[in-house]
């Protein structure tokens, strides 16, 4: 299967690409070639760093191309800031809109309780019926590194608790987001990526 990986020049794609290759996927990377998005079978948007960097997705036209691909039913997976981008925005960069698939805002962990950022292995509480988390048991550990997070809503497919419960996984129709790094989350992460790669493309159309 082929995966289009979006590069918005924030961070390093090596780990994500390496893991997708290990799982048998072919990858094509685009930092602005919209034809690779319009012909995509699956899209992965990795991301680290500041939410403001997603401005590059707007500037290059990738935002519109991704929106159209999602509307066509192409499975989409956002990782870390790539997940946060699926929301209306983030208080990290209030003037920079996200894609708005999910109407809420991402916010920073409250100060004064535990260290922020949240770094390390924490456990997932998956909701029943999540396709991305098929076979992932309650309590399975994945690797996080972030200071901002999405709220728990009806679209949350797994909750993790650090200071307060937050959305570790978000899932609606063909759109998926993970706040942690599946490419760094040992067997649990590989299982989640395998699930994404084996989603039935037609079946995912809404």
């Amino acid at each position: 299967m082929r995966v289009t990986v979006i590069d918005y020049k924030a961070g390093n794609l090596t780990s994500v690409l390496k893991t997708l290759h290990y799982l048998g996927a072919e990858t094509q990377v685009t930092d602005g070639d919209l034809s690779l998005v319009s012909s995509a079978e699956r899209i992965v948007l990795p991301g680290v760093g500041h939410f403001a960097a997603t401005q590059r997705l707007d500037a290059t036209g990738l935002t519109g191309a991704i929106r159209a691909a999602i509307a066509r039913g192409v499975p989409f997976l956002g990782i870390c800031v790539g997940m946060q981008w699926l929301y209306a925005g983030s208080t990290e960069a209030p003037s920079q809109p996200g894609l708005g698939v999910f109407a809420e805002l991402c916010t920073r962990f409250p100060e004064g309780y535990e260290k922020v950022p949240h770094v390390g292995w924490n456990s997932l509480e998956p909701m029943p019926g999540s396709r991305l988390l098929a076979g992932v048991e309650s309590g399975a550990y994945v690797y996080f590194t972030h200071s901002f997070k999405g709220p728990v809503t009806q679209d949350t497919a797994a909750v993790t608790t650090y200071i307060e419960p937050f959305a570790a996984v978000v899932e609606r129709s063909n759109v998926f987001g993970v706040q942690f790094h599946p490419e760094k989350s040992a067997e649990t992460g590989l299982k989640i990526l395998r699930n994404f790669l084996s989603l039935d493309v037609e079946g995912a159309t809404c």
Binding site: S15, V48, V119, Y141
Partner: protein
Amino acid sequence: MLTKRIIACLDVHAGRVVKGVQFIDLVDAGDPATQAARHALEGADEIVLLDITATHEGRETLLDTVRRTAKELFVPFCVGGGIKSARDAEQVFTAGADKVSINSAALANPSLISTIGASFGAQAVVVAIDARRDPAAADPIRDAQVFVHGGRKFAGRRVVEWAREAEQRGAGEILLTSMDSDGTRAGFDCELTAAVSESVSIPVIASGGAGTVAHFAQVFARGKADAALAASIFHFGISTSRSLKQELEKSGVPVRLPC
């Protein structure tokens, strides 16, 4: 629940894992890629590869080692040793590292922390600090001396103020080695670790002195460490990360199990 991380550390010289006390009497301990994969299978939460080759030719060997090690490693992977510039860091990231650890270069040029962070994210920058208590200081612990060049030279900085500056400049984590404890197997310096950990909001990885399971439990509880580095304890077959974590769990330390 967020767990305490057990990090396996491989010292690498000229493309081979070596072991020895304080870099003396080095013994060949195998291939880095094989050893890293074994540690990950045995439950390590993260792998640190520390290159102790100082030569220029060594850089190419290191990049090849990083590439081979990263290829089938699916836990966080940090590489340190000899990274002097943003260019050096970029090469290591492109070869497959998730984080770089910088030490002397950050002290010589603190803006390197923010330069690497701006391109690769703060989570990718680990600032390593080698510190020794200073009995002559008003506060021997918070004012512990920071050393460079493998512990041979006082850098003119004090541990807590340097850790805070590193954080302000955008470090994602601190890897704190107690030079008093390193190599002793008599336990981590919990007071030093707690002084640093309580002064910053980023995670602190404790290093130096591990000899028993109890030492790890102490550095997590009293030392407020977020993670602990284990090196010789594994090489000599005393314990795997999994068995270490199973014992820690019995002591009430939250750890990633099963793993």
